[in-house]
Symmetry: D2
Subunit: 464 residues, 4 copies
Amino acid sequence: MSGVHEECGVVGIYAPQGEDIVRFLYYGLLSLQHRGQEACGIAVTDTGRDELDVNCIKDLGLVSEVFSKETLAALNGNLGIGHVRYSTTGESVRENTQPLVLNYCKGKLSLAHNGNIVNTDELREELIRTGAIFHTTMDSELIAFHIAKNRVHSKSVEEAVYKTAKKLKGAYGLVIMSPKKLIAVRDPFGIRPLCLGRRGKTYIVASESCALNSMGAEFIRDIEPGEIVTITEEGITSNYKLKQETKAHCVFEYIYFARLDSVIDGIKVYDARIKAGELLYKRHPVDADIVTGVPESGIAAAKGFAKASGIPFDLAFHKNSYIGRTFIKPSQSERSIGVQMKLSVLEEVVKDKRVVLVDDSIVRGTTMENLVKMLKKAGAKEVHIRISSPPFMYPCYYGVDVPSNKELIATRKSAEKINETIGGDTLEYLSVEDLQETAKGLMICTACFTGEYKAGQKSNDNEG
Amino acid sequence: MSGVHEECGVVGIYAPQGEDIVRFLYYGLLSLQHRGQEACGIAVTDTGRDELDVNCIKDLGLVSEVFSKETLAALNGNLGIGHVRYSTTGESVRENTQPLVLNYCKGKLSLAHNGNIVNTDELREELIRTGAIFHTTMDSELIAFHIAKNRVHSKSVEEAVYKTAKKLKGAYGLVIMSPKKLIAVRDPFGIRPLCLGRRGKTYIVASESCALNSMGAEFIRDIEPGEIVTITEEGITSNYKLKQETKAHCVFEYIYFARLDSVIDGIKVYDARIKAGELLYKRHPVDADIVTGVPESGIAAAKGFAKASGIPFDLAFHKNSYIGRTFIKPSQSERSIGVQMKLSVLEEVVKDKRVVLVDDSIVRGTTMENLVKMLKKAGAKEVHIRISSPPFMYPCYYGVDVPSNKELIATRKSAEKINETIGGDTLEYLSVEDLQETAKGLMICTACFTGEYKAGQKSNDNEG
Amino acid sequence: MSGVHEECGVVGIYAPQGEDIVRFLYYGLLSLQHRGQEACGIAVTDTGRDELDVNCIKDLGLVSEVFSKETLAALNGNLGIGHVRYSTTGESVRENTQPLVLNYCKGKLSLAHNGNIVNTDELREELIRTGAIFHTTMDSELIAFHIAKNRVHSKSVEEAVYKTAKKLKGAYGLVIMSPKKLIAVRDPFGIRPLCLGRRGKTYIVASESCALNSMGAEFIRDIEPGEIVTITEEGITSNYKLKQETKAHCVFEYIYFARLDSVIDGIKVYDARIKAGELLYKRHPVDADIVTGVPESGIAAAKGFAKASGIPFDLAFHKNSYIGRTFIKPSQSERSIGVQMKLSVLEEVVKDKRVVLVDDSIVRGTTMENLVKMLKKAGAKEVHIRISSPPFMYPCYYGVDVPSNKELIATRKSAEKINETIGGDTLEYLSVEDLQETAKGLMICTACFTGEYKAGQKSNDNEG
Amino acid sequence: MSGVHEECGVVGIYAPQGEDIVRFLYYGLLSLQHRGQEACGIAVTDTGRDELDVNCIKDLGLVSEVFSKETLAALNGNLGIGHVRYSTTGESVRENTQPLVLNYCKGKLSLAHNGNIVNTDELREELIRTGAIFHTTMDSELIAFHIAKNRVHSKSVEEAVYKTAKKLKGAYGLVIMSPKKLIAVRDPFGIRPLCLGRRGKTYIVASESCALNSMGAEFIRDIEPGEIVTITEEGITSNYKLKQETKAHCVFEYIYFARLDSVIDGIKVYDARIKAGELLYKRHPVDADIVTGVPESGIAAAKGFAKASGIPFDLAFHKNSYIGRTFIKPSQSERSIGVQMKLSVLEEVVKDKRVVLVDDSIVRGTTMENLVKMLKKAGAKEVHIRISSPPFMYPCYYGVDVPSNKELIATRKSAEKINETIGGDTLEYLSVEDLQETAKGLMICTACFTGEYKAGQKSNDNEG
């Protein structure tokens, strides 16, 4: 799948015993890079120093571009937060990078945010009425400002965070750093993931468990929806809890965004994808010679399809790992070159075979159309497309960047018509019910497939 | 003189008839570059568009470095402000560049500031008590925040500016841009200069009149101390006036900062420097063969000295104009090379001559020491130093960046001792009374010479 | 495998009918990027213009870094060559990038080289005796110089190339551009690959067939060992042929360097790797639950092993595709983090399983040691290592960059000892005889395994 | 004057006792920067090391841009050469920067060149006939190549240099570095300057004596026209001397290029300019109130004019020292802004005055036209233009970059017509005879005024 983007990942680390944790923030961001490739940043402080200052490096670019050996060496501290941000075109500006580092009544306040707030107009209005100024267009700045305002009449920063969170509508996983505390907050619907880990006496909060693994930390538990966790010198406390809501975990994390080796809310991403493949076969069986998946998005579901069907799984594509952000704009008659540069078919695998091609979704349909053409050109006798999610038809207001309605092929065409365009032999989707089955026991958000927005609807979708 | 830095220059332009004024902002900043070489920026809007957005380019660097043909072409509009900022070492960071461009209750608010506020603690405290957050450490952000706060209960932005200005203590020349207005404010003491000009129907506000010349505009008048000027589609109004204070125009503008071709508060900078030279001769005559000045700082006063004394004026130094921000760190035994790289003596001018060497000030004394050595090595029989200002002994809280007390040679040594160190034959300063005489009719601030701070004293001196 | 590097890839294109071929050079280089990531370049001319000039862009960096939309747009022509160069540390300098573009007696001579010449001392000596000067340390410059020298007494550039090639010892795939000709040369042993393709009336020469696919061109044939192919306006000629030698095709191309979808000298890289896996099972069978490969180097052989053994193939590792040239230097106690950042084990795949882990080679052994640890930590009951090549023991003088002898684990330890260090349950290599079997019918070079250097031995190994 | 460019400066230093001389090369280049602002470089070796390697840093840009504290610290050695190169538009490419550092039969050969060779076709042809290749289009490469060729049959590098120099036609000041020698060569006509100095036991060769001053070295003597000086561990020798020619020292060095504080061939640049001003008055007296010069080019001659006439000298312009390479492209109606940005008139100096305006030359006439307008607008009653050189009418083949004939106003118009265009009250030039008088006793080259090319004519003028 191409065309849909996750909108950020966060990590926060506190080592009360004073260990320098900058490299762990860096490893964490590297392992969360799949959640956002536009920009990234690290803010860090040393709670042992008399003067509590925060050093922050952030910029547009990948983690490997923004941080060098030298810049990392220049940072150090035992308390810090980090952020990666998704990549779109055009509106990415340096001002909108995170973490935000601000001065407020209690010194420095730093914040990184994964998700999207839907009642930003309301939140902004309330501040503007009192004469506020805003330096950015990020909802993260709104959240920070409300925390600062609430801090004035609160006995602690976590109380101020609590009062603020009560007003937020939408999806969020927040890591907040005040001079000697690390606070993590997850929205009451549990839309965005957020989990807790430890490495010796060092505590880590991260969007996904793979970030914990990257630094050799062990997984403790997911932050509960609506929970506010505070990590201080004395350890973890969790005194504030937002009002319970019906859960609405983003199912797209399992289908696509989250890393294959992450575990979110008790469900292994790998298992969910295998299950989706199995269900795809169960609902839409087909007689074929091999099952393959679009790298990397369709591989796991293809393995599940193969397992359920008994049809052998194979890797039919070679992926060029150096394409990166390469500029390719072939002329009209060379339209398929863009896809061909990234993926090439291994003829030996598909020649004279009936192929099941699995992917996680179809957004615009152009990539799939090219892949089918490439498979047929390489000698595939039949190409049966199986999509491990329902047709993608509605915008997401909770932190996923999707193309406009007009660009979504499923909003304009039936599955049958889409298949005609794409040129497959058959095309089948997973149903919403089956999707729910892949995340057994979890209440999921299916808004992008059904249009039911459990956590509210609307408004600004310009951030992550 | 080296070691003392002006701390900024501002320019604002409004062309109600819709002309693109970006190139004029650029010319203005180029001609104000002597007021600050650390950073610069331009913010511009087009009042004719339905959607009133502000485009801003700013960064560390000279005007010629930050703006290229391409970046200038990308900006356009008929209303804009610009800023140049002084250069110090170390704490120059991208976040602290100007203009500030903010969102507030009435859309975009942009602001550029020349000067220094002394009651920042108080201003910050008032905001922080209400839960404010700050992104920078600039007093400019404080001013903008207070304007936004005051705007809520004011009938116009100029009223909000007026209410804010009433609270400000210190020195300031401000240009403020709201969606369809350009506002200029000058502190009640008139410490920093600010003047008004026009080019056809286009109005310009600038720190110095030389900026008006650079764009072919005519000088209208100085903004009066305490005056708030508003330029709208209908023209200029000046409805708000701050409480009158005894004037305290910065005399250093005449002695050193302002460009030789500027006119400030009715006094030509050129005339003031000539006058200073004349008075220097009158008070401290000397028998000599030629008068010369340290380029460029002492040239005009040297001409005045020559005029009054009848001793011929000559240029004794060649200046290397490519030194720029060159790194030169000669070893101990080559200490004088730094000065020699910048200035070399024209032997033919000084050989076997008794030389009067004029400069505007002595800060650390090291440069002057080297110049005297160079003159004597080139054959000068005598070197009589004449300084066109009194000994520099006190810090400035009004927007001038001076070395710490310890580094100021005049706080530690008498003129006689200084001369001994420097190796001149005689050394004489201008008195405070004579200095006043150079700016005849103006009430001047002489705090850096006398320690009398008319506009209040104190605190943060980290901005421009 | 990590630690061994291919040393370059070349591409040359000529469109006699005048089509702009710059984008095809670019696509070709992108698809050859796996052969070299240190530097790249394109040189191009337009044979239709009166003044035949060559434009060249080259620099350190990936193809996606060196060429932007703008730089590509600035180039155009119908005849051109391109080069990618491998990445080592330290001695990569801008001067040593290719293509070389030179002036010689017949105008411009451009050249790009894949391989390594062993008799450079001799070639240099011959030139130096006549008073030559050298701007670089590349053997490519030596080749170009000899061509220029020979050109003086030759009736065509291809004759000069022929005379030069007769003197060259070692491995080379050359693309040479003279004002209106594209010439391709392959060493008589056929060590480095070079093939020919067409796209309509446009001819392409490239190191690997995958480059042809990337631009939608069809494969014509391999350039024969010792063949000199000339492409002019009139088409392809092949009038010069070097003396036949026993072939010595680099078997490492099949094992590791070449792209999985390339076909070299009639053998599909994919087939060779599948075959290697099959033979590995045949010689060293083992009872296990799953077969997996190290991504990407061991995947294909693992599929072959699975096919031969009937043990299911599965993907046990998740690869982080954003690591790039990331700096990771974990402290001593976190040594395994480097590998963990790149690869993570999918616990679900290996838990309680007996695992066969296939890779193409073991260089230093540290990566394999970490992978075994990771698999065991994830619950693998047994880990049986199978290497699809013989132990790597001798340096390569033909264009492959290998670590020094001291770093090669196989030069110091027996397979048994290596397995002890690595911690596998069993460890087996492919024999040289079986390796020959994977490239059935081809005469291969096995110098790195056996120390038999068919094409001569020695000297400078600093280029590509 | 604007529009004419000097084409390079060189410096070479050898400290046989082992002192690190990199900083002195750097100071030397800084002080020669007026001779070329396009590119610069330093090549340095340490004769005390066993392995004699040459480190070279060179790039497009000013000395202050190409060299930072870090890059300078990375270089060190006791023998080195440096180069600055002029600035033109368009064809400045990185490949054409100097010093050239090459490998030849005796190790490393490094070379930097100031001047222009006129028989390059011949020199190139001779090499090309033997099969040479060229990496650049610089005549410096040709020179180096001939030296390398001649070295084969010479007993020393200086003999090879001598044999090469005998073939060179045109203007040159060369510094050449072989592993343990520094060689300096000056063309037999003495067109370009080159002098010798010492600092303790360290020897320095430089284009101008100001470079010696910059490093605290003393002037020894000018290198004689046609002399080849060799500096080794044992000191200075001068065994090779080219055939004597009638001298033809470039008079433009005195008029414009050389720094005011340099002494060339026994004549002080300062004196020559004063003398030119005096003669200008003597030949073309005028009744006026003040004499002023265009900064910096006309200042010294203006002082001479004032001295001879008794009319007071004054500085009428303020120069903006921050313009640099600023982009200014005013619209048609703002044509004069470009000049105004650089220079502004001090009204007080010229108001109601009859002004003599002195400059060194008129190239296109546009700058002078604007200056006259500015003076008149500022109140000057009369403006009498005096040019301290004859009309500039012929191209220079000896290392000066001049506009094409069409752009030279004097080739199209008489002085009278030029004055009409410019708008002065009178306009007078210095005659060729008087020019000769300013450099009394020297044989000068006046080709650009008279078209008499004593040192040969022709050909490629693309370098420095």
